[in-house]
Structure formats: structure tokens, C-alpha cells
């Protein structure tokens, strides 16, 4: 039996042990089945808003990253300035300000979309840098060789720059994904009932702070850990 398998068996035993402990503790606590359902709904919303932000943010990040690595000074300055603001102002302030502006402008928009838009923009700001770095990591001489074979600009991107750049920056993109999942908790400030917010409410209702926070920490872990595991696997597979 190799080390790799052993690791997972040990993990499984630990998880089973703690699940049992958790079950006993929950039984003994004042938490009801409805409370747990409420918690799971929060979890679902966390996943929902994170996935939305990651998809939209990555999409725009790719576009902005491409613009940044291809355009002249003026466009660059404009795009960079905008993204620098997004990256530098704390997310929590962005949520509150954007939500307030929507209110002032009387735009009817759900809390989910306020959160998703800001979180997407924040994600895009980080993905932009990663994409730019990815594109720049492919040497000019390699791209020149591709073009000299008669490939068009977009064929060069599709077959050379994208696969090579992706390999270079995939780990950075994964860390963005993981941080977005955790940062999504901040949407609670504008009243979106994601998992941390639901936990808070349950704590004030049941006074089971420790148990609930351990539980919610564990939920974050089971979302994030498989992603990093899969990332490591993919990274190995893509390795040149």
C-alpha cells in the first residue's frame, strides 16, 4: 500500500470519528433539524454566489488581462486604475457602498446580485493580473515561431498562448478561487443569508456558538479542500 492511499484512510477515520462526535453533540444540543436545514441553505447560497462570481469574474478577468497585455499606455492606465481601486478598497466597504448607491439610484436589484456583481468585479481585478502574467509568460519568440508557421493571431492564442499560459498561472487562479469562496462571507453585511450569516442567526437563537462555528468551519473546508486537491491533480497532469 502506498503512502498516498494511507493518507486518505487516515483522513477518513478522523472524519468518521469527528462526525460521530458531532452527531452526539448535536443530539445533546438545542439544535433542531430545521436549524440544520437552515444552515445547509446558507451553505448552498455561499456556493451559489461564489460560483457566480468566479465564472463572471474569470470571464472579465480574461478580457481585461488580454487588454492589459496588448494595449498601449492610455488604455492600460485606465484599466489598471480601475482595477487598482477594486483591489485596494476593502471588499466590505465596496458591498456597502454599492448597495447604498443602488438604493439612492432607486435601482431594484436583489441582494444576491449586488453581492455577485461586487464579488465578480473583485475577482476580475485579481484574475486580470493573473491572465496578464500568463500571457506574458509565453515568450515572444515562441509566438513568433507559431505565427511564422502561418497561424493567425487567434490560432496562436488558442493553441499556444492559452495552453502554455494556463499552465503557468493555474495555481494562482486556484488561490483566487479559494479566497473568493471565503470572501463571499462578507456579503452578509448587506443581508445576504450565506452560511456565515445563517450561523450567526442560529448562534443568537440557540447559544451553541462553539459547535456551530466548528461546523461552519468544516463546511468551508469541505468546499475548499476538494478544489485544492483537484488543482494539485490537474497541475501534475498538465506539468510539462
Amino acid at each position: 500500500m502506498n503512502k498516498f492511499k494511507l493518507k486518505y484512510i487516515v483522513y477518513s477515520i478522523i472524519i468518521l470519528y469527528f462526525s460521530f462526535k458531532a452527531y452526539v453533540s448535536i443530539k445533546a444540543s438545542t439544535l433542531t433539524v430545521y436549524d440544520l436545514e437552515f444552515l445547509l441553505e446558507g451553505l448552498e447560497r455561499t456556493v451559489y454566489i461564489s460560483v457566480t462570481a468566479i465564472i463572471i469574474g474569470t470571464f472579465f478577468g480574461i478580457i481585461f488581462g488580454w487588454i492589459k497585455s496588448n494595449s498601449g499606455m492610455v488604455t492600460n492606465l485606465f484599466v489598471s486604475g480601475f482595477l487598482d481601486i477594486l483591489r485596494s478598497v476593502p471588499l466590505i466597504i465596496q458591498f456597502i457602498l454599492f448597495y447604498a448607491f443602488m438604493g439612492i439610484l432607486e435601482i431594484d436589484i436583489s441582494v444576491f446580485w449586488v453581492g455577485a456583481i461586487i464579488l465578480s468585479a473583485y475577482t476580475a481585478a485579481f484574475v486580470t493580473e493573473v491572465v496578464r502574467a500568463g500571457i506574458d509568460s509565453v515568450s515572444q519568440t515562441t509566438r513568433r515561431a507559431a505565427r511564422s508557421l502561418g497561424m493567425t493571431y487567434w490560432q496562436d492564442y488558442r493553441y499556444i498562448v492559452f495552453p502554455l499560459g494556463l499552465r503557468a498561472v493555474f495555481p494562482s487562479w486556484i488561490s483566487i478561487v479559494l479566497s473568493v469562496i471565503k470572501d463571499s462571507a462578507l456579503v452578509s453585511v448587506i443581508g445576504y443569508l450565506e452560511i456565515l450569516k445563517t450561523t450567526e442567526e442560529l448562534i443568537s437563537k440557540t447559544q451553541e456558538a462553539l459547535l456551530l462555528l466548528i461546523g461552519v468551519g468544516f463546511f468551508y473546508f469541505i468546499i475548499s479542500y476538494p478544489i485544492s486537491l483537484y488543482a494539485v491533480h490537474l497541475e501534475r497532469k498538465l506539468k510539462i
Binding site: R144, S148, L149, R167, I240
Partner: protein, 241 residues
């Protein structure tokens, strides 16, 4: 036929080519020698429009390379190019490296593209490396892969930009042998090179570049063995020491 007529090229204020006139007939081999910064590589880049030009004209088979109406991607299919840095595509196997362009640029089927790629890889002596990744090969092998990759497009002309300069000395021979083979098969080539002995051996014509102009051009006998211009003599005495 490749023809350069009064080609001027500048990078900003720096004029790199100062009116180059040059003709390479079908089946001819032209070697271009000269010091660094003499504009010889830039001239090569202008032939397949990797670099644009300020004035003059570059004609390949009577197609004006720098004309805005010319589809440069189509034209480049005729002109293979190999660079100093071998630039293999590291994420693709040797076979995929050579088969990619025929497939996506020429629109050949995968099996057809692979057949051509295999032929060309055999041709340059990489017949046993199809499944290898380029990063595991020596510089000489990667450079031969670059040649096969260009040949897989079945070009009519080949441009070589100092393709042995970045190689370890013991690997230079295998790459030059590949060029000798192409020469024998009648490929039209322009070789920018520092290998003077090689230039003398394979070329029909040798051009000596100095500061953006062709200082001397003629047969290898004329330019390398009996150079007339003082600058050519100086250059040759330095490199042949």
C-alpha cells in the same frame, strides 16, 4: 523567387536596413554573414513580415509581402522559418509539434497531418522520437524538430536565422547536416549564419552585411575566399581566427 528592392527598416531613430537590394532565385541558397547589429536577421524577418518595413518592397513569387491587401498568413505557408532559439511548443509531443500547423493552418485531417509530420521528422532523423516531449531533448534535436515543423507545411522557401548559434558546439554538426540534406533536395534557402565554412560549402551566393547595407555579395569564392572590400576582409579575418 524572393526579391528585396530598396528595403529600409528602422526601429525608432535607428535605421537597421539602409536600402537592401537582393534576389534569391528558386533553388538557390543564399548565406548572409556579418557582425551583430548588421541587420542580417532583421532582413530575414522582413521577408515573412514578422517585422514591417518603412519603404521599399519585398516580393515573394511576385506577391508584395508588405502590401496591406496581402494575406500574410497565407503567404507564410510558403515560407518556412527556423529561429536561433528553437521555440518548440513544450506542451505538445514531437509529433504534435510538427502536425499542429498542417492541421489548423492548412486544414488537413489529423491522420493526414500526422503522416506528413512523421515523414518530415524521419527526414531530419527524429523518427524514433514521435511521443517524446521537446523539453527532454537536446538543443540539436529540438532545432531539427523546428526544421521538421517548418517543412511539414511544405514550404517553397526556408529562412534560417542563426540556427546553430545557441547550440553546444558538439550539436552544431547534426543541424548543419540537415541543412546539407535540404540543399541537396533543391530547397530554396536563406541562411543567416556565423558558420563561415558551412556557408562556403553550401551556398550559391554569400552576402556580407555591414551596418544595414550589403557590403559585398557574390559566390562563396568571391566573398569568402577572395573578398574585395576591406570590411569583409576584416570581418573574415576576425571570425576565421
Amino acid at each position: 523567387m524572393i526579391e528585396l528592392k530598396k528595403v529600409h527598416k528602422s526601429f525608432g531613430d535607428l535605421e537597421v536596413l539602409k536600402g537592401i537590394d537582393l534576389t534569391v532565385e528558386k533553388g538557390e541558397v543564399l548565406s548572409v554573414i556579418g557582425g551583430s547589429g548588421s541587420g542580417k536577421s532583421t532582413m530575414l524577418y522582413c521577408v515573412n513580415a514578422i517585422e514591417n518595413i518603412q519603404s521599399g518592397q519585398v516580393m515573394v513569387d511576385d506577391i508584395s509581402v508588405h502590401d496591406k491587401r496581402t494575406n500574410i498568413n497565407t503567404l507564410r505557408q510558403k515560407i518556412g522559418m527556423v529561429f536561433q532559439q528553437w521555440n518548440s511548443f513544450p506542451h505538445l509531443t514531437v509529433l504534435e509539434n510538427a502536425a499542429l500547423a498542417p492541421q489548423i493552418v492548412l486544414g488537413k485531417s489529423k491522420s493526414e497531418a500526422e503522416k506528413i509530420a512523421k515523414e518530415q521528422l524521419d527526414h531530419v532523423g527524429l523518427g524514433d522520437k514521435f511521443k517524446e516531449y521537446p523539453t527532454r531533448m537536446s538543443g540539436g534535436q529540438q532545432q531539427r524538430l523546428a526544421i521538421a515543423r517548418a517543412l511539414a507545411m511544405e514550404p517553397e522557401y526556408m529562412l534560417f536565422d542563426e540556427i546553430t548559434s545557441a547550440l553546444d558546439p558538439e550539436l552544431v554538426g547534426e543541424v548543419l547536416d540537415t541543412l546539407r540534406l535540404l540543399r541537396k533536395e533543391g530547397m530554396t534557402m536563406i541562411c543567416v549564419t556565423h558558420e563561415i565554412a558551412f556557408a562556403r560549402e553550401v551556398s550559391d551566393k554569400v552576402a556580407f552585411f555591414h551596418k544595414g547595407v550589403i557590403e559585398e555579395i557574390g559566390t562563396p569564392e568571391q566573398v569568402i575566399v577572395n573578398p574585395q572590400k576591406e570590411r569583409t576582409q576584416q570581418f573574415l579575418s576576425k571570425v576565421l581566427q
